[in-house]
């Protein structure tokens, strides 16, 4: 029995090595895709947003305002126009992402000591970028406005500090906690790595079980006891390799893209272990229930985006309908993608109730999926045995 058990490991290893596609999808593709995906976000923040300025009454004051936008890291004024319609056309064509409209009476209003008004429009079809751009717009205009107001106070004999205090009694400092650069890479990288791994690992396990139907332990040619041993063999083999692979993925991604590790490594490793255990059961179940590997792959890939959306990783559960949140609670991705980010960026550990809940859910779902897959496997073995017996009887007859 022990010999069969160890032979099983050898069998799994040889099968994997003989299948370049399986080897690539299981071990290489996750790392490759994760590097590509995180690499896309490596700039972290969106700078040099192209703007068009509509300046119908060109003067030193209007040019000063335009220059203030252009000198900001956030924006590049790529066109100074006379016509608002032309600016709108550029916005629609995607040539610029925002428009500054300086009205004709801008300079005159300033000279008369009246408030001059500027319209700043930003393409908010992408909310995240739009919101950040508006905050920067507010900062640029506020700075210019304050400068002008303070100058007039200074001219009337006040100091700069007094002028500042008069003009802007309350100033604000923005501080993004746990992600001080406000980086998209920090926000998305860790979770997307988990999602890519989730899909490819499930696929690898599903393929490993699915392929056994064609030739292998689910063809009815092997004694039942050996079949069950092979089931455990497979689980342990893919579990161990998968666990090491997810750790390798996170180690490479974090090293390569400079993620801070504010939490305990042991917590991250434990969560990865629970995640891999949970996925093992689901992967085996999928491979056993689907007709073949292609079917399993199609279902998995088709469900990538629902998994991502429902995980609450980008759009939090607090803003989702309660029914969907209940469904999401039974998805492994929910209990891994956000918690990983929380461990790495926020430095939380298993002393927190939220993380303990995630670990419990992963383990519970893993146990249920494992037991279910064992039952289905046993049923498939018996069914294959029956078929084989019938086949042999026909041959004998």
């Amino acid at each position: 029995m022990i010999l069969t058990f160890f032979k099983g490991f050898w069998r799994e290893l040889i099968r994997l090595l003989k299948d370049p596609r399986g080897l690539f999808m299981f071990l290489i593709a996750p790392l490759l895709l994760n590097i590509v995906v995180c690499g896309a976000f490596q700039n972290g923040i969106v700078n040099h947003i192209p703007l068009a300025a509509v300046d119908t009454a060109s003067s030193a004051k209007t040019r000063e305002l335009i220059r203030a936008f252009d000198e900001s890291d956030r924006f590049d004024v790529t066109a100074v126009l006379q016509d608002t319609e032309e600016a709108k056309r550029m916005l629609e064509a995607g040539e610029v992402e925002g428009i500054i409209v300086i009205p004709e009476n801008y300079t005159r209003a300033l000279q008369l000591g009246q408030q001059a008004e500027v319209l700043v429009g930003v393409n908010s079809a992408n909310n995240l970028v739009g919101n950040s751009a508006i905050v920067s717009v507010m900062q640029v205009v506020k700075t210019i406005s304050t400068e002008i107001a303070v100058k007039s106070y200074v001219a009337s004999g006040s100091s700069v500090d007094e002028g500042m205090a008069q003009v802007m009694p309350v100033s604000s400092v923005l501080r993004p906690w746990f992600n001080p650069q406000f980086s998209y890479l920090m926000y998305l990288g860790l979770g997307l790595t988990g999602l890519v791994y989730h899909q490819l690992f499930l696929m690898a396990v599903a393929s490993a079980f699915g392929e056994e139907k064609k030739e292998g332990i689910l063809t009815g040619t092997m004694p039942k006891r050996d079949c069950i041993l092979h089931f455990f063999n497979k689980m342990i083999f893919y579990g161990v390799i998968g666990f090491l692979n997810i750790l390798l993925n996170y180690a490479v991604i974090m090293k390569l893209f400079g993620f801070p590790m504010r939490g305990r490594q042991a917590d991250l490793i434990l969560l990865c272990g629970c995640f891999v255990f949970c996925l093992l059961g689901f992967g085996a179940l999928l491979g056993l229930l689907c007709k073949n590997t292609i079917h399993a792959m199609q279902w998995l890939m088709a469900l990538t985006y629902p998994f991502f959306i429902l995980s609450g990783f980008s759009w939090p559960h607090t803003e989702m309908p309660a029914a969907l949140v209940r469904v999401a609670d039974f998805l492994p991705a929910t209990h891994f993608m956000s918690p990983v980010r929380d461990i790495v960026l926020m430095g939380i550990g298993f002393e927190r109730a939220s993380l303990v809940h995630s670990r419990t859910m992963l383990l519970m779902m893993g146990i249920v999926a494992f037991l279910l897959s064992l039952v289905v496997f046993f049923w498939k073995v018996q069914w294959a045995e029956k078929k084989q017996t019938a086949r042999e009887e026909v041959v004998e007859a």
Binding site: R21, M25, L33, A40, F41, Q42, N43, I49, A93, G113, Q115, E117, V120, G121, V122, N123, S124, A125, L128, N131, S132, I134, V137, M138, I144, I148, A149, S152, D161, A165, Q166, V167, M168, P169, V170, S172, V173, L174, R175, W177, F178, N179, Y184, M186, Y187, V196, Q199, S207, M297, Q298, W299, A302, T304, I309, L310, W315, E319, D342, L345, M346
Partner: protein, 401 residues
């Protein structure tokens, strides 16, 4: 014409015999549309839980806190002792943002000096972070201007004069194409289109190679020897199904979830058709040279996985490294997903998307031509091998007298 009809019906029969395929191709994009629409139904962040650390507890600080309380975007959860407690509360998920008043806040205001307040946000989720920064800055700006204007009005100036003195350059912002800052406008199109792409490319990627795998090449050749016809007919069938699925999804997005579709139906039809055709053509291209369906599906999976990230839909193309910008041009999704969002939200016409449509057309033509050529070469090779095999078998068979 007869061969065309036969091939057409054969492909339909194949799909109808396998309802799973149709479920995946039609019902799955609809399912994803409903998931997206429902998840993002609220559209924007509201009642963001904020904590306050007030080292300078006074009427003025309470005024600022009250201004946040009045805003629909914020919900003041309570006061905390220090920054460490705030960080702990963020880690526990009690709050997602905070206001911190330094000890000298009130004193500075009373002395006529500028006082500073810290607006913090948990930026691990940038949805929270960007909303808190934007809406919080608006609230603080308003409070600051109010205080400044009040002091001048107290000295006898009019409100307008005071405003002009304090804030000589006023501004109003317009969030074009998404005025309510609705996240469902931003994200729904992208996820639904990417799902349509995923599903479609898998089926297209096995459409040719499965004929070889299942041993139906002879049957296919029996109907028509023209590989071009074989490729085109399959393309047409998948196009019809995917157009139907995408049409239903578009109607649900517009009708059920109230996400605007300002573009004309002609633009919708032409642009969508080109996109779907380019995906099918690309899938068939993979299918034409891949040795088996599993490999074809795997390749299309690896190929399409990063396409949404690289398309510039969520993370703008200008922020992508130069190499990625070039790489992104290969994916049909890059030339559709942003353009389509613009058509839907801005109502732009053919002029704005002409470049993208031309690239999609180019991808379609190149992939279809390559598919036809490779598939033809492959079939010829297989035929030759079969003939050789038959001749060898005949030669090796002993002649019985």
């Amino acid at each position: 014409m007869k061969a065309f009809a036969k091939l057409f019906l054969r492909e339909w029969k194949y799909l109808l015999k396998r309802p799973r395929s149709l479920v995946l191709m039609i019902l799955l994009p609809i399912f994803v549309t409903c998931i997206c629409g429902s998840s993002y139904a609220k559209g924007y962040f509201s009642d963001l839980k904020m904590g306050v650390v007030d080292y300078s507890y006074s009427k003025q600080t309470r005024e600022v806190v009250e201004a946040f309380r009045q805003s629909p975007y914020f919900d003041i959860v309570g006061y905390y002792g220090d920054e460490e407690e705030i960080a702990e509360a963020m880690r526990d998920g009690e709050i997602v943002g905070c206001l911190i008043f330094p000890a000298d806040f009130t004193k500075k205001l009373q002395l006529g000096q500028q006082a500073e307040v810290l607006l913090g946000s948990s930026a691990v989720n940038m949805g929270y972070g960007s909303t808190i920064n934007l809406k919080g800055s608006e609230v603080l700006g308003t409070v600051s201007t109010q205080m400044a204007v009040k002091s001048l009005v107290a000295k006898g100036e009019t409100v307008d004069d005071a405003l002009a003195a304090m804030n000589p350059v006023g501004f109003y912002t317009r969030q074009w194409y998404n005025p309510t800052n609705n996240f469902s406008y931003f994200l729904t199109f992208g996820f639904v289109i990417a799902t349509v792409q995923q599903v479609l490319i898998y089926f297209a990627a096995i459409s040719l190679v499965r004929e070889k795998e299942s041993g139906h090449l002879e049957e296919l050749r029996g109907i028509s020897k023209s590989t071009t016809l074989q490729v085109i007919v399959k393309c047409l069938v998948y196009f019809m199904i995917s157009l139907l699925a995408w049409g239903i999804c578009s109607c649900i997005i517009r009708g059920v979830y109230d996400i605007p579709m300002k573009g004309s139906w002609q633009v919708w039809l032409a642009y969508s058709s080109l996109f779907l055709l380019s995906i099918i053509a690309m899938g068939q291209f993979f299918s034409s040279f891949m040795p088996n369906p599993v490999l074809a599906t795997s390749l299309s999976l690896v190929f399409t996985s990063p396409s949404l990230v690289l398309s510039g839909y969520t993370w703008p193309t200008i922020a992508l490294p130069a190499f990625y910008q070039k790489l992104a041009q290969v994916f049909p999704l890059t030339h559709f997903v942003i353009g389509y969002r613009n058509v839907a939200l801005t109502g732009c016409g053919f002029e704005a998307i002409r470049g993208d449509m031309m690239i999609l057309g180019g991808i379609t033509v190149v992939c279809l031509v390559l598919s036809c050529i490779i598939w033809h070469l492959r079939l010829t090779h297989t035929e030759k091998k079969t003939q050789q095999g038959t001749v060898e078998m005949e030669e090796n068979t002993p002649v019985q007298v």
